[in-house]
Point group: D3
Chain length 139, copies 6
């Protein structure tokens, strides 16, 4: 049986700020630059979820990608889109709102739920801007 | 002499919220939907500034586009990028932070400064997401 | 009051064929090339609907773009997406399934419905491929 | 000698339908959703063919990418573009027309022919829409 | 009869330099900045040719876009692609190799030839980079 | 500690030519096609630099991507942008100006400098056109 990697792109538009609450605004600016601006800023994030699995010979696909999309929207997009990453998102609570952490904690949200569908989560990729992106492979 | 339209794209990543302060959160939600989320959200905005002018026969261009870029960055991008449209931007003070108003008030900032360079501002176009954009022609 | 042009992008994936039923396959091939292949082919179409209107000074927008999107999806996308333009689409019945005609007949579907929302339809733009697109302004 | 991966993008616009002929339309709809619409639908597919090889120190390249392009166009694009994946494509005969199977069977078409050019096929990636894509590495 | 605007995108990759031969390198640098670098630089240019015409009610299109593409490739792309705009291109001889002039002189090449096909050239748009583009409407 | 891959995109617009000086123009044309045109041609290159590293639990990131960008711009972009790859670029001196070699020699420039920042260079990817790109992983 052949193994394929299938990817679903979803999008969310969120506010965020990079800062450590125990530091002053100036100290945060040293560490995080403009991204620590106290009144927030935001992005149109693009999220790419790649799952890996055997191509079912009866159905010709790894999984109906609509099922993957439904899980991503329910557990990730609905919590992030038109929200504030630092304030509103349960799975980012107490976590620095970097793109790296978004990728890691989205992995934690999706991995067990995709496992139930018998597919393996392979990669979470997040594009923050057209020039910056992060990939996380669960390790 | 030929007339050409030249366009410079610049980008800014900002937080914003659509709301009228005299209304309740629920009333704002009725009018603006998710865009009125109280804890802000944000976008990677793309700004397209189009100027119109005669092609200088000695130089072969309408204007050195770097001059246009410098003006946009100084008077618009530096105020919006990694900032909060509602709170931080002098020329948006007291104005609803819609994409339409961004286009109108960016026009007001740029039009006289481009006029000094002997080019005519033709259009301000702002892409808020890959699915939504606004054009304003100064009328 | 300022006038702005706002655009909503929607997408549909459809099969189609360019042909005149009274002609032979060869004659159709002469006129339409590969696009007349008898077993159909298809595209990911991108539809850009631009409306024009006064920017409401109380609300800062021409119209809530979600209303525009809802109308487009109900009256256009739901009929075209994952369908056959020649066979399945009531408003394309008896019409050659060219991109030009798609633009013209989508205009007919949307113009009165957008008029009811007090905005003026300005342009229907359809991208058939990354290299080919059509614009129609209702004239 | 250094090893590099080089990728050529080609495109094809095709009609297809996901269905199992032994099932009813309703049963197919259960399994494949809108993609099983009986009158076909279609896509602008993007195909990315990645080959791996040593960088020839005399010529500075792995292979002249034009040779790769010629093979892809002759054996894959000419059969798929402006055609129906289910009906017209010899190497997809009797196979469910999913993106996964397209990737697997395009691999089978290209792998031996690229091997003759002394490069190793590394990945077939197919973008079906801007939100969905599949990668296959030959395993 | 309805009027539509149809656009064909073509691409060319060329070297160029902005400079006036009667000036020194320093003087040219003052006027044109990095674009006057004496050893040339280059771009992947995107060319968008928009023609305007009545939609033929018998055929459903303004013109077979393949005919437009053939003319553009024969008279423009074949002269510019993988060439030097300043040295190799007959219709740019003695002209400053700016994007504005490319648009104006491509218009001169294409306008009479499209006129022979009974369509009206409406706009030449050239994207030099993802941030800079020029439009010319023949006036 | 989690490991993430972060990527920074930068761009440069350069002239180049593929040729071996010991061969005639005709012989070079045999080997390299249009890319060996003697008067140069050029591209808007896109450079994607991917680094790999542990996500710092105190800061939530692998490295401040601005530091990566600064190094790329100082040691690579400033030498290539608006320059001639064959003539002007010290680290490409005596090397065939292919995309493969660009990737390999940019790796050599960046790898030790990124190592000093305690991140590991993972991949250099260069897009020469929208249809052609190269990846190099340092092996």
């Amino acid at each position: 049986m052949a193994t394929a990697y299938i990817t679903r792109r979803e999008r969310f538009s969120s506010a965020h700020r990079l800062f450590k609450p125990e530091l002053s605004d100036n100290e945060n600016y040293e560490l995080f630059g403009d991204c620590s601006h106290p009144n927030w800023h935001g992005h149109n994030y693009e999220l790419f979820v790649t799952v890996k699995g055997a191509v079912n010979p009866e159905l010709g696909y790894v999984i109906n990608l609509k099922k993957v999309s439904t899980i991503i929207r329910k557990h990730v997009i609905s919590k992030l889109d038109h929200r504030n990453v630092n304030i509103d998102v349960d799975f980012m609570s107490g976590v620095l709102a970097t793109t790296e952490n978004l990728a890691i904690y989205i992995w934690k949200e999706l991995e067990p739920r995709l496992h139930e569908l018998s597919v393996e989560l392979h990669c979470i990729k997040i594009k923050e801007t057209e020039n910056n992106f992060v990939e996380y492979y669960g390790e």
